[in-house]
Each structure stands twice: as structure tokens, then as C-alpha cells.
């Protein structure tokens, strides 16, 4: 028999937490509604991880106003990508050979990471908002990276000869947010950079950091990084939310 909660004893907590509290019980077990709500959230998270970013369409849209290059990592498919993060951090050599070195302040990379949904929903908007704030800088052709992790940007930035790289990437989905975008900034990109040498703006999504605010923070960090000649632990920004993601995608 279920024990329905007719007067929600947890009403006062609902506005301060998304935790699944006060769910009620069927015997010792979760009531069916709570079971299905959980399964729906997990299904969306799984779909985000295994989803496919339509990079061809994205390249066509961005290509109307910007030079765009499409590259892929050395991970041939999603299951290899998940099991072998080392391959997702490196650029497929054939594509890399086509990249021209230039004199760029900043290179932007849009990478699928662990959430196709996040990239589809937010990456182009955040990119445009950043570019509007950086009109005086030399911006490299935008790179779209398939089956790519954060460090993929290191090899791309190095090949482009960019002073720094910004990777916009889908973060590992949680049950409450399957489409959160992260931005990772690295000065002096080259293969082997450590995570402590990066700055991160995370939790960019509809209920998190708004696009324009994210672009403000990213643009601020870019200018500071170029001025100081570094990113990482010595470049302080309020990284609220970053601590909640111990594993970079």
C-alpha cells in the first residue's frame, strides 16, 4: 500500500533544493511516479551523452559569417571515446595536417564532449556573444571538433599558432540538467597542458549561467589571460559551479 503525502511536509524546502525529497513510499519502495520521473531524467542524460551533434549543419550556419574548420579526434566512435579519453584529447592526424598556422590572439573550438544536447542548444549562441565582445582581437577560424575532449583544443590551438584557445564543450550530464555547456580557456595551448593550467566557466544552461553572462566572463578571462600571459590557478575568477564537476569531460 502506498502512503501518499496529502499535505507535503517538505513544501518549505521545494524552493531551495532540487533534491528528490519527500517522495513518499510504496511499502519500502519508491512510488511509481517517482520511479518514472527518475527514468525520464536518466533517459535524457543518456541521450545527451550518446547523441550526435549535427556539425555539418552547424558548419553551414556558422560558415555564412565566419571561416570554419571541421576536425575529429582520434576516437573513431562514441564507445571508444568513452573508454579511451586519451584518444579524444588528440586530433586526427589527417585533419590536423590541413590546419594553417596564423597570427591569432584566440582560437575557439566547439567540441561535442559529453553532451550533444548542450552543444546544440548553447554553443553557437555563446560563441556569437563572445565574438561581439572581442571585435578588436584576431580570431582564428572556428574549429568544430567531433568526439573531442577539452585537451583536443591544445593540439588545435598549437597548430593554429593561437596565443590562447577557448573550448566550448558539452559537460557530463546530470539528472537535473542534461544540456550544460562548459568553456575551458587555455593560454599557450600545446599538447600536454594540465587541467590546473586552464580556467573554466561551467553550468551554462537555461537554469544556470545565462549566455550573455557567460560571454562576459569568458571575454573578461580572455583579456586578462592575454594581458598576464597565463591561465590556470594563478588567474582567479569566481568559478562557482566548477567545484561540482570533479571530472572534466
Amino acid at each position: 500500500m502506498s502512503n501518499p503525502i496529502d499535505l507535503d511536509p517538505f513544501a518549505r524546502f521545494r524552493s531551495v533544493t532540487r533534491a528528490r525529497i519527500g517522495l513518499g513510499r510504496a511499502g519500502d519502495s519508491l512510488p511509481i511516479r517517482a520511479v518514472l520521473d527518475f527514468q525520464l531524467a536518466h533517459a535524457r542524460a543518456r541521450d545527451a551523452v550518446h547523441g550526435h551533434v549535427d556539425f555539418a549543419a552547424m558548419a553551414a550556419r556558422l560558415g555564412e559569417t565566419l571561416p570554419v574548420t571541421r576536425l575529429r579526434s582520434r576516437a573513431a566512435d562514441r564507445s571508444i571515446y568513452l573508454a579511451r579519453p586519451d584518444l579524444g584529447r588528440r586530433v586526427d592526424p589527417a585533419g590536423l595536417a590541413t590546419v594553417q598556422k596564423g597570427d591569432w590572439d584566440v582560437a575557439f573550438v566547439i567540441a561535442d564532449g559529453l553532451s550533444a544536447a548542450a552543444v546544440e542548444a548553447h554553443a553557437e549562441i555563446v560563441l556569437s556573444a563572445c565574438l561581439r565582445r572581442l571585435g578588436d582581437l584576431k580570431i582564428a577560424p572556428v574549429v568544430l571538433g567531433e568526439q573531442a575532449r577539452v585537451a583536443f583544443g591544445d593540439e588545435v590551438g598549437e597548430a593554429l599558432g593561437a596565443r590562447m584557445v577557448v573550448v566550448l564543450i558539452g559537460e557530463r550530464p546530470g539528472l537535473s540538467v542534461p544540456d550544460s555547456l562548459g568553456a575551458y580557456l587555455t593560454f599557450g595551448p600545446k599538447v600536454g597542458r594540465r587541467d590546473s593550467e586552464r580556467n573554466c566557466i561551467s553550468n551554462i544552461h537555461a537554469d544556470g549561467l545565462p549566455h550573455e553572462t557567460a560571454a562576459d566572463k569568458i571575454a573578461w578571462l580572455i583579456r586578462e589571460a592575454l594581458r598576464l600571459g597565463l591561465t590556470g590557478v594563478e588567474l582567479k575568477e569566481d568559478m562557482s559551479g566548477a567545484a561540482a564537476l570533479p571530472l572534466t569531460p
Binding site: P9, R20, G24, Q39, L114, P173
Partner: protein
């Protein structure tokens, strides 16, 4: 079966049919004998064929247990964890099994002669490498049956690990540590009788002030309802030491640990600072039924992710972390088995296997082992797999399991067990919580005579749920 070990050479070889399998050394043999793990593949040390894995197991079964004392997998000079393991080895305790091979040890563990009392005496005589080796030739069944014979009992304000009991950690994580939000998850869990192992929160940041406010929050709750419980803010050991110095009401010191000196350095700790953390907590003398003051977490793959594995397989490195744990006389230790990610444990099969291995190895070494039955959204696993693992671990006599509201950790973005799951396991196995905590639940009217929960809408539950943490009273 083959020609066994080549005389006079450090390598191991066996002929199976027409195929000769050679392994360069003991650590290569251990890695190849391990059940498939994506992390060992990533490190390039796992068996590359199924036959080769079994070849390694035949050879490993014939390795004398003594060999692990004579041939350290990670050099004594290079690693303080190896030094700890060998310097603290109890030869007297080891003597009943000193003559055995790994294979004979496995058969003995499953024999009628091997009892709880025997295993308790043996624990200081075993090294992590010995228990890792024997686990590699044991099926899941064997890991469950042998672990169920062990008993590791510890205490602070509750007694954890008694036969026939099942304890739990209540994990009220919140993305911003909002006191009301944390209170909501905590009070919800208490109405399920969850939290007798610890009420333990992962703080959103490592900031001392914020951590101390959480310690105050839990301590006031404990005193308000006179709950026999301990709380823990899972911050870095050095932050906990500062909190003790600042007069915070700290019960347990937490730290993530690993099985090599280099991996521990990646966590910003060494044995010395861990001992200092323990001393700091002991100095407060806050325990009532025992003085186990440490809470430690581990997980297969953490050393590899720090590039600090010395070519040793991830399960053996994990077992070495339990030697570090054992040294610190912890109240509770758990593997965060499915949390580290699919590059180390790819799917539910690997996560379930690792959970049973970790629990078995920890218990055999005398560590009060629990498990965070969990997975991330990029692993090939779901809640059905967690159902399987929690029932298997309950059968194996696990000391405690972790639970979060509705199995969804809204701060760390992964899934564990729900409060409901803990209650369900207690009922299914007839295993109530720690005796002090169980008595409190009866006193509060939260459990009836048959161990059933009071409804959350009942006045006894409302009494708890309507508690308001006084945020202004914090330090």
C-alpha cells in the same frame, strides 16, 4: 597443464594447447589475470585475449603467497605505501597461511575451516597484493561467500559492522550548501532511519568557513534530537585540521586516499598528514562508544588518472589503498566504485565486479568496508544494475552503503542508492541499523515493533521534518 614457471627466470610461462603464454614479471601476471577493466586497457596492461587472461590465472594460482613479501610490485625505496605494507606485516598472524599458494588460499577461504575468528586473526598477516591476487581467481560468488565470513567492527557514537546489521551514510549534498536545502535532504533521510554510519556531506567548496558552518548545522541537529550519530564534512584533511584548531564541532576527519605515494600526492596528502588529521580528531574526544575518527574514500582508477600506477593493475592499486586505510583505524571506508568513470570501469558488469572485489579485499585486510553503489551518466549502467549490486553486497555483509534522496545526487551529478533502497535491504535481509541508532528510532517512534517506518505525514515524522536550522547561530 603446462610447464608452469620457468626455473631461474623472473618471468612466468605456461603452454595451453599449442599456445605458449609468457608474462614478464609478477605485476604483468597480476594485470593479465584481472577481470576485464577499461582502466587496465587504457594503461595498456590488461590481457589482450580471453585465453591469455585464463593462462595468467593458472599461473597466478600457483604463486606462493610468500612471493608477495619477497617481490614488491612497487619498489620499497620508491613508495611509502610499499614501506608501510612491508614494515607493518605481522609474520605471526600470517603463519597459518604462509605455506599456501594463491590457489590454495582461495580454496581455504571457502572451506569450512575458515571461520570469522580465523579471518580476524589473519587480517594483519595479509598484504593488499595477496588479497588482490586471490580475488583475481575468485568468481563473484566466491567474493560474496568469503566476505560474508569476515567481521570488522568499529565505533564512534554508533557501533558499525556488527553481524546482522546494515548501516548507511546519509549524503545530503547541495550545489551551493544552502543550509535549508541541506536540512531538507538530511531530515528526509532521518525519517527513513538512514545515517547511522555517518551524515556526510560533500561541500560545494573547500572554504574553511563554509565547512565549519556545515559542521555546526549537523551538530545542532544532533543535540536537538539527541541522535546517536556522527557527522562529517568531506573536505581536505588539511581543512579539517584547521577546523579543529578553530574549535569546530568536528566528529570525523575525511580524506580520499589511493594506493601509491604518488597518487596520494595527487590528492595533496601523505601518510604523515593523514596521521596528523587523525590526531587532531582524537584530541577532541567526541566519540562515546569508540575512537575510530577517520572516514576514507577510495576507488579503482584513481591512481591511473593521476598517472601514478607504476604499471600495476587498478584493482591491486585499490587494495593497496586499504593498507593506508588500515593504518589509520578508520570508522568507515568506502569505494566510490562507479564514480570514477567509464574509462576505468566501463559498464555495469565491471562496476559490479569491482564493487565485490573492493568489499572483499577491504574486509579481508580488516578494513570497515562500505560501498557507494553508484554510476555516472556516461557509464553503461542504470538503476537496475545498482539494484543488483546492492543486493549482492548485502549478501556479502557490507558494513554500510551510501544513500541520497531519490538516488539522485544533485551536486555531484551522479546516481547512488535512494533512502528507500536502504530501508528495503534492511527489511529483505532482516538487518536493522546500528544498535544505538536503532534504539533512537524506536524512542522517536520512527520505527514500529516490526521495523516498519512511520509515514512522513505522521506527527512523529513531522516533529523532525519541521525542525529549522538556526542559520544565524553559526560561528
Amino acid at each position: 597443464m603446462g610447464d608452469g614457471r620457468l626455473s631461474g627466470m623472473p618471468s612466468y610461462a605456461i603452454l595451453l594447447g599449442r599456445q605458449r603464454h609468457v608474462f614478464d614479471d609478477l605485476k604483468a601476471l597480476m594485470a593479465a589475470a584481472s577481470p576485464e577493466k577499461s582502466g587496465d586497457r587504457l594503461a595498456g596492461i590488461g590481457a589482450d585475449t580471453n585465453e591469455r587472461r585464463i593462462a595468467a590465472r593458472y599461473l597466478l594460482a600457483d604463486v606462493p603467497l610468500r612471493t608477495f613479501l619477497e617481490e614488491p610490485l612497487i619498489p620499497y625505496e620508491a613508495d611509502e605505501v610499499t614501506r608501510l605494507i612491508l614494515d607493518s606485516h605481522d609474520a605471526q598472524a600470517f603463519s597459518p597461511v604462509a605455506h599456501m599458494t594463491v590457489g590454495q588460499f582461495r580454496d581455504w577461504l571457502l572451506s569450512y575451516e575458515c571461520t570469522t575468528a580465523e579471518l580476524s586473526k589473519l587480517a594483519p598477516g595479509l598484504t593488499p597484493e595477496m588479497v588482490a591476487a586471490v580475488s583475481k581467481i575468485m568468481r563473484n560468488h566466491d567474493l560474496i561467500v568469503a566476505a560474508a565470513k569476515t567481521s570488522v567492527v568499529t565505533g564512534f557514537r554508533t557501533t558499525i559492522g556488527l553481524k546482522g546489521r546494515l548501516s548507511s551514510r546519509l549524503q545530503p549534498n547541495h550545489p551551493t550548501d544552502d543550509p535549508e536545502g541541506v536540512a531538507g535532504s538530511t531530515l528526509d533521510g532521518l525519517t527513513y532511519g538512514v545515517g547511522d554510519a555517518v551524515i556526510g556531506i560533500n561541500p560545494a567548496g573547500d572554504n574553511l568557513e563554509a565547512c565549519m558552518q556545515l559542521m555546526e548545522l549537523f551538530d545542532r541537529l544532533r543535540q536537538r534530537f539527541d541522535i546517536p550519530m556522527q557527522s562529517c564534512v568531506l573536505t581536505h584533511v588539511t581543512t579539517s585540521i584547521k577546523a579543529v584548531e578553530a574549535g569546530a564541532p568536528l566528529d570525523l576527519v575525511f580524506q580520499s586516499i589511493a594506493g601509491t605515494e604518488a597518487a596520494n600526492r595527487g590528492f595533496g596528502v601523505d601518510l604523515q598528514v593523514l596521521r596528523e588529521g587523525r590526531e587532531a580528531a582524537l584530541s577532541l574526544k567526541r566519540g562515546t562508544v569508540g575512537d575510530n575518527v577517520m572516514y576514507l574514500e577510495t576507488g579503482q582508477g584513481s591512481a591511473l588518472s593521476a598517472d601514478a600506477h607504476h604499471g600495476v593493475d587498478e584493482q591491486t592499486i585499490e587494495a593497496r589503498a586499504y593498507a593506508v586505510a588500515r593504518h589509520l583505524k578508520p570508522l568507515i571506508v568506502n569505494t566510490v566504485v562507479g564514480f570514477i568513470g567509464p574509462e576505468y570501469l566501463y559498464d555495469a558488469k565491471q562496476i559490479i565486479r569491482a564493487g565485490l572485489e573492493d568489499h572483499f579485499c577491504g574486509k579481508l585486510l580488516g578494513v570497515p568496508m562500505g560501498v557507494d553503489v553508484c554510476y555516472t551518466n556516461h557509464a553503461e549502467a542504470d538503476q537496475d544494475d545498482m539494484d543488483n549490486l546492492m543486493f549482492l553486497l548485502a549478501s556479502a555483509g557490507v558494513n554500510f552503503l551510501i544513500a541520497v534522496p531519490g538516488a539522485d545526487d544533485v551536486m555531484l551529478n551522479y546516481q547512488s542508492l535512494s533512502y528507500h533502497d536502504i530501508v528495503s535491504l534492511r527489511h529483505s535481509f532482516g538487518r536493522p541499523p546500528a544498535p544505538e541508532f536503532e534504539a533512537w528510532l524506536y524512542r522517536m517512534g520512527l520505527l514500529d515493533g516490526e521495523g516498519r517506518l512511520a509515514p512522513q505525514a505522521s506527527s512523529v515524522a513531522r516533529n523532525l521534518i519541521d525542525y529549522r536550522p538556526d542559520i544565524r547561530a553559526s560561528a
